[in-house]
């Protein structure tokens, strides 16, 4: 098997996919999270400011979803096909909600009528909240494992089987961390009374996160078999949950010092550490089979050919610096508090 720096291609691609999903969680995390606070902001102007805080960025942030999905398809077609067809209903809901969310952003401010805005406000709030929740639900399902039989075919298939108690817990945790991320981002972009209101909301968000995170961790340890095996073998990796905890504990301190950009960095780190935790726990499995471990989808049996992975790694090496450049330019251009003008939503 071909290697680069002593790492085999499937593992390298696993890292690429992991990096893309982390980027997606961090960047769209604040988009979705900001949207999940939408109805908690009472005034029309506040809501407009909140939408325009993500205005120039959300389309770009969505790139990470598209590239992440593409990378999964490209690198691990078996994983892509098995997971999406097994999680048919949550993914379809997710996709439809994405369309509704985009529509809400684009069309909310197009008309002044209160019923119009109210409809879009509710659509925006519900879609952002459910999208965050569903992403967590899918993650929960992956952690729990699937009923995968021979040839990596899904054997389950009851309509709402994806809503297991554990998946719901992971869903809520994801929602809570996105909401924390979103509130910090909005603090960075706002001033005055809205800013004060968000400081208050952020506290609620963090409490929500800490509670759901604690319950989910406990539930994982008690009810999800085998989750801690890897850590027992390599105790050094216990540092990941510890780091996640320390990162999140740092957030209130930074917020009280009004260092919002740093606070955002630390809540992003929390997400990154948690995802690393998941990645480390699963590796080299992508989708554990509940029927028989041999049926599990792993990075080796799901991977594209060495040749294809090599080509795609080249594409990434050329493309990633370009993309990073675009993002730096974009975020620099729109740094600072939201100012509404004629081009705003």
């Amino acid at each position: 098997m071909e290697t680069f720096l002593g790492i085999d291609y499937p593992t390298l691609w696993y890292l690429v996919v992991g990096l893309l999903f982390s980027g997606y969680a961090i960047l769209e995390g604040f988009d979705y999270g900001a949207g999940a606070w939408h109805l908690f902001l009472k005034k029309d102007l506040s809501r407009r400011i909140a939408i325009n805080a993500i205005g120039p960025l959300w389309d770009a942030n969505q790139v990470w979803l598209i590239i992440g999905g593409g990378a999964l398809f490209a690198g691990f077609p078996v994983m892509y096909a098995t997971m999406l067809s097994a999680m048919y209903i949550p993914f379809m809901l997710f996709l439809v909600l994405l369309v509704l969310r985009s529509s809400a952003i684009k069309f909310r401010s197009a008309e002044p009528m209160p019923w119009w805005r109210k409809t879009w406000d509710i659509t925006y709030f519900v879609s952002n909240t459910l999208i965050s929740f569903l992403l967590g639900v899918v993650l929960g399902n992956v952690l729990q494992g699937f009923e995968i039989g021979e040839n990596f075919t899904y054997k389950g298939g009851i309509f709402f089987a994806f809503l297991s108690p554990y998946a719901i817990l992971v869903g809520l945790t994801t929602l809570s961390i996105f909401m924390t991320q979103g509130a910090i981002f909005l603090l960075l972009k706002t001033e005055g009374r809205l800013h004060a209101r968000l400081t208050f909301l952020l506290k609620k968000g963090m409490i929500f996160f800490i509670i759901s995170f604690a319950i989910t961790s406990l539930y994982t340890l008690i009810f999800v078999p085998g989750v801690t095996d890897k850590f027992k073998e390599n105790p050094i990796f216990f540092i990941l949950p510890l780091l996640a905890f320390l990162a999140v504990a740092n957030v209130p301190r930074l917020v009280s010092k009004k260092k919002y950009a740093y606070a955002l960095v630390f809540s992003s780190l929390t997400m990154a550490f948690l995802l690393m935790l998941v990645a480390f726990q699963l590796y080299p499995v992508l989708l554990p089979s509940n029927i028989h471990p041999e049926h599990s989808v792993t990075i080796y049996n799901a991977a594209s050919s060495q040749k294809s992975l090599g080509i795609m790694l080249t594409i990434v090496v050329i493309g990633a610096p370009l993309l990073a450049g675009y993002f730096i330019f974009l975020y620099k251009t729109f740094y600072g508090k939201v100012k509404l003008d004629d081009s705003s939503y």
Partner: protein, 448 residues
């Protein structure tokens, strides 16, 4: 209905709806680059007003294009799992390249385009416009490459057997430049340019008819007409080249496009007609031996007919393929005539005197849209029964684990949401057109 049919309906519906918007974005993108370039070059405020106006419309089409495009990306996995496993090795690198090289470019710079007027210099704004436009062009490249590979696979070998079989890439560039890629990319780009330019022509023809924004509308109309004339004419060349390629690589598709059943006979080229599949006959007006001539430059040369292929290996909807293909060509011909005549009048200096012509332009916006749709249908239905030509059948490609109920559920959701989306799109397009370019730009200028 069974899962296969439902999955096909859902895919056809979601992609047909998606395919309204990216071509519009690409076409409007080109016009915006020209308008903004002229503004930077001449400093004429009219071009700035036009750029800002078309950017607003661009933003809506682009937004809906992205939203519906994400659905396409994931629908491969949800509804076509077997197919996804089969082509992942090939399709994947095209999608990865699309994401990194094309979509990354267009989406990041879109923010600068819409919200950056007061934050970056006019030059940087112009460069961003070019970036977004090029990004949308590259997107089309990679998506069409992936689709073309399905039509004319190259640069691969098949490993494994039965359910485990899949295509693996052996030669990346042969895969990218498979026999139909280049023709189809150019043809698709041209279709997209026409979709966008005809929207521009339509809107400004409407203003001219109403006597509103006359001066800037004349400028915009001329820009769009120049592009539309060149593209309609050259579309003929790429169209012919594509058909030649189909003759070589997908003879069954070509036979279906012309309703040609018997190999021995010289093949006719129909202007229009109706295919009676049962009696294997076409009734219509055709040039005897015309197809033979176009393919072999010889009116007598035999063209492989549908009967030369086993029944299970050839498209079953011959009349549909025939009709879609011929509607596309008729529209193409009409657009050539229309733009040439308008260009002639422009040369004579009487372009804006003929109300009836402006009326035709105002309504013609729908024609490239129809041509794009039916052209795509002809290409995809002509490929049947294969999902990967000659290798994997459509009936083998769908997700075995998804139930009919699940697809009905998602299909109903899509129907509902897309209907709302289409209404919103038409409503806000109409509103922006009614509102006009000048007021919005004036407001923006006042804020500066």
């Amino acid at each position: 209905m069974d899962v296969e049919i439902l999955a096909r309906i859902q895919f056809a519906f979601t992609i047909a709806f998606h395919y309204i918007y990216p071509p519009l974005s690409i076409g409007i993108g080109l016009i915006m680059v020209i308008m903004e370039g002229l503004y930077l070059k001449t400093g004429n405020k009219h071009y700035e007003v036009l750029t800002r106006f078309w950017l607003k419309i661009f933003a809506i089409t682009f937004g809906i294009g992205v939203a519906t495009g994400i659905i396409m990306e994931f629908e491969f996995g949800t509804n076509w799992a077997v197919y996804s496993k089969y082509v992942g090795d090939i399709f994947g690198s095209a999608l990865a390249a699309e994401g990194l090289f094309a979509f990354g470019l267009e989406s990041t710079f879109l923010g600068i385009l819409i919200f950056g007027w007061n934050r970056v210099s006019p030059r940087v704004h112009f460069i961003s416009t070019i970036g977004v436009f090029l990004g949308s062009m590259f997107s089309a490249v990679w998506i069409v490459v992936a689709n073309s590979w399905q039509q004319t696979p190259a640069g691969y070998h098949i490993v494994g057997e039965g359910l485990q079989a899949r295509a693996e890439v052996t030669d990346f560039w042969a895969m990218v430049f498979n026999p139909s890629s280049v023709d189809r990319i150019i043809h698709t780009w041209q279709g997209a340019f026409l979709a966008g330019t005809f929207l521009v022509l339509s809107v400004h023809a409407y203003y001219l008819l109403k006597g509103r924004y006359v001066e800037i509308s004349k400028k915009a109309f001329k820009i769009a007409l120049s592009v539309a004339t060149v593209i309609s004419l050259t579309q003929l060349v790429s169209g012919h080249s594509s058909a030649d390629g189909v003759a070589v690589n997908q003879p069954a598709k070509l036979a279906a496009m012309e309703g040609h059943y018997e190999t021995s006979a010289p093949a006719d080229l129909y202007l229009f007609g109706w295919v009676d599949d049962e009696n294997q006959q076409v009734t219509g007006l055709g040039i005897p031996g015309g197809l033979s001539f176009l393919v072999h430059q010889d009116f007598e040369a035999p063209i492989k007919g549908l009967n030369a292929f086993p029944e299970e290996d050839r498209p079953s909807q011959v009349n549909a393929v025939f009709q879609f293909y011929h509607i596309m060509i008729s529209i193409g011909m009409f657009l050539i005539g229309l733009t040439l005549y308008a260009s002639y009048l422009w040369w004579r200096g009487t372009l804006f005197d003929k109300t009836w012509l402006l009326k035709i332009f105002a309504f013609s916006v729908i024609l490239p849209q129809i041509a794009n749709q039916v052209g795509w249908f002809a290409a995809e239905m002509g490929r049947q029964p294969w999902i990967v030509y000659g290798h994997l059948r459509t009936s083998e490609g769908f997700s075995q684990e998804v139930s009919a109920n699940q697809i009905v559920f998602s299909l109903v959701l899509f129907l509902l949401v897309y209907s709302v989306l289409l209404l919103l799109f038409l409503y806000s397009l109409n509103k922006k057109i009614k509102h006009g370019p000048y007021d919005e730009a004036k407001n923006a200028l006042e804020i500066i």
